[in-house]
């Protein structure tokens, strides 16, 4: 499944962020932006994620027009926000909608790290909450692709409250027997990890994804303990009991489809649509 071309000095070549090897863009994209040499999973835009995850042309974006109002009049926020919007074509750091995987309806949220580091402010939190609640409304499983540096400082305490708000929405799914699967992509950190991400029914991660509560530097400063080489990688987090599986990008769609259909066996929208 070929992906949209990335921007690069020579549009036919790209350097792998893992092994630094020069790769043919065509091969690289045919391989879902996973390095054929070192298996490094490169970050995806939300559109790329949709392409590799959902049935062709099945994804419909919803809540597309929501944006933040700079509630704290935080210095430089408005400029940065507009800049991010212009650069990415997104309104905020996360896209929600519905799509199908193997014909099965899914309510989805897809974070995009390229928009202000995927940070969670009011809009990000609102859309996550809506994606979860939409699972209840539509009686279908919810899949959320996480990618975030954490809460968005520029919305202050309102950003912190998104941790609570999204958690509340997870509770609604639980109360209503709606399966919720989180996929941790590189990176899944701080406020997002410490709220809706970590309480999914099933948690998958992409290989080597950075996953952690505190920045690695903070942790390193915090104590003189020896830190494992793979600290805050998906592999470390799996060993720590916080993940269900590390899933290669090539297997992700099939794994999600299978889990959604088994766990969502009683849902009216669970049948192939």
């Amino acid at each position: 499944m070929p992906l949209r071309k990335a921007q690069a000095p020579n549009p036919n070549f790209i350097q792998c962020k893992g092994c630094k090897k020069t790769l043919f863009v065509a091969d690289f994209e045919a391989n879902l932006r996973v390095c054929p040499n070192c298996d490094h999973h490169h970050r995806l835009t939300w559109q790329q994620r949709v392409e590799v995850t959902f049935d062709i042309n099945s994804f419909t974006e919803l809540d597309a027009d929501l944006y933040s109002g700079d509630p704290l009049q935080f210095p430089e926020y408005e400029e940065k926000y507009l800049q991010a919007q212009t650069k990415s074509g997104m309104k905020d750091s996360l896209v929600t909608g519905t799509g199908t995987i193997d014909g099965q309806l899914i309510s989805a949220a897809i974070a995009d790290f390229h928009f202000m580091g995927g940070s969670m402010g009011s809009v990000n939190g609102e859309k996550v909450a809506r994606a979860l609640e939409r699972g209840v409304e539509l009686q279908c499983p919810v899949v959320i692709f996480c990618a975030s540096g954490g809460a968005r400082m520029q919305e202050g305490l309102l950003s912190l409250m998104q941790m609570a708000k999204t958690t509340a929405a997870v509770d609604k799914c639980r109360q209503n027997g709606i399966p919720y699967i989180a996929v941790f992509t590189d990176p899944t950190m701080a406020g997002v990890l410490a709220s809706y991400a970590s309480i999914a029914d099933v948690i998958l991660a992409e290989p080597k994804a950075l996953i952690g509560f505190a920045g690695a530097r903070v942790s390193a400063q915090a104590q003189v303990l020896k830190i494992p080489d793979d600290f805050q990688t998906a592999e470390f987090v799996l060993r720590s009991g916080m993940l269900d599986r590390i899933v290669h990008r090539k297997e992700m769609k099939a794994t999600l489809g299978n889990l959604c259909s088994i766990l969502g066996h009683r849902l009216t929208a669970g049948a192939k649509s």
Binding site: M153, L157, K165, S198
Partner: protein, 324 residues
């Protein structure tokens, strides 16, 4: 820029020293007239202290509020437990891994009624601070809290939490035992409860570490407490690569109790005695007691399902979202 609340409290401390000296003189003075003069001066001094505190503390900047919220002599959770509750029995253990004394918890009586208390606890001296990890809870602390919330649910006891932490523990151990999961699971559990929950921010409301036990039907903040998504130092370091800009960050983050009230994120700001709760802990505690009593009384008119729904609605509404 002040680096300690002591700096701007210095004039008060000097005046107070003057007062005690004058009092000592007055005590020894046998001449009634001279004594009366001394007493007049004492009264003058005390008036000046009061005025100073009133003026000075009514115009504290956000950074000064941060310093005051962190001030050593502020009453901590266990102080409020001792003053406001009876029959408290501290319980311990997460039944998983360990004991965490950055959070204290247990059943007690409030106005004679059975409640569960959970709160961050700072240390009063070096040893206690180390033992309590500066009130930075590890996963064990939040999992102990979850156990307490479950007990509250099982025995239909209202929950009262006290918030006073710089942050959850960010160490390697905490990561490897799932500090993120622990915080999220604690919030989730609080959303599940069908008993009333009241949270009081009594000092530092430090990001995830704070909200992990602050999913309440009513969230109250003491006047000089702060509640923030990130410490101002961290914010300044990340945004402006300059931790020294912490005062600007404190202002930008709108982390004071007034701002939180204005943003509609807390139900009430609890007045403190002039100069802060530590200057008159009994008075501060009485204000906290009255507020908890009022809110708890109101909440207890709701059914369990209403309480749960109320908590959902409360947090679901938070956020500043524009668009069609």
């Amino acid at each position: 820029m002040a680096n300690s609340w002591k700096e701007w409290e210095k004039p008060v401390l000097d005046l107070e020293e003057g007062v005690s000296k004058l009092k000592a003189l007055a005590d020894k003075e046998t001449d009634a007239i001279k004594r009366e003069a001394l007493e007049t001066r004492i009264e003058e001094f005390e008036k000046r202290i009061e005025n100073f505190l009133e003026v000075r503390y009514s115009r504290l900047g956000p950074w000064e509020q941060v310093l005051l919220a962190r001030a050593d002599p502020r009453p901590y959770t266990l102080d409020y437990i001792q003053t406001l509750f009876t029959d408290f029995t501290e319980l311990d253990g997460d039944r998983r891994y360990g004991a965490d004394h950055a959070i204290v918890a247990g059943p007690a009586r409030f106005n004679g009624q059975s409640v569960i208390i959970v709160g961050h606890q700072k240390g009063r001296n070096i040893q206690e601070r180390a033992q309590r990890n500066f009130a930075m809870a590890k996963p064990e602390g939040y999992r102990k809290a979850i156990r307490m919330f479950e007990m509250a649910e099982r025995f239909r006891m209202p929950v009262i939490t006290f918030i006073d932490t710089p942050a959850a523990d960010p160490g390697v151990e905490s990561e490897s035992r799932g500090i993120s999961e622990a915080i999220a699971a604690s919030m989730l559990k609080m959303f599940e409860l069908t008993v009333p929950i009241v949270s009081v921010v009594i000092g530092e409301g430090g990001s995830g570490g704070a909200i992990g036990i602050a999913i309440a039907n009513r969230v109250l903040m003491q006047e000089h407490s702060v509640y923030s998504v990130i410490p101002p130092e961290g914010c300044a370091a990340i945004l402006w690569r300059d931790p020294a800009k912490k005062a600007q960050a404190a202002a930008a983050l709108k982390l004071t109790s007034d701002s939180a009230l204005e943003l509609g994120l807390v139900e009430q700001v609890l007045k403190e005695p002039f100069g802060g709760a530590h200057r008159n802990p009994a008075e501060a505690a009485q204000i906290v007691r009255d507020a908890i009593t009022t809110h708890l009384t109101e909440l207890q008119k709701l059914t369990g399902e209403q309480l749960r729904q109320h908590r959902y609605d409360r947090f679901r509404a938070f956020g500043h979202v524009l668009g069609p």
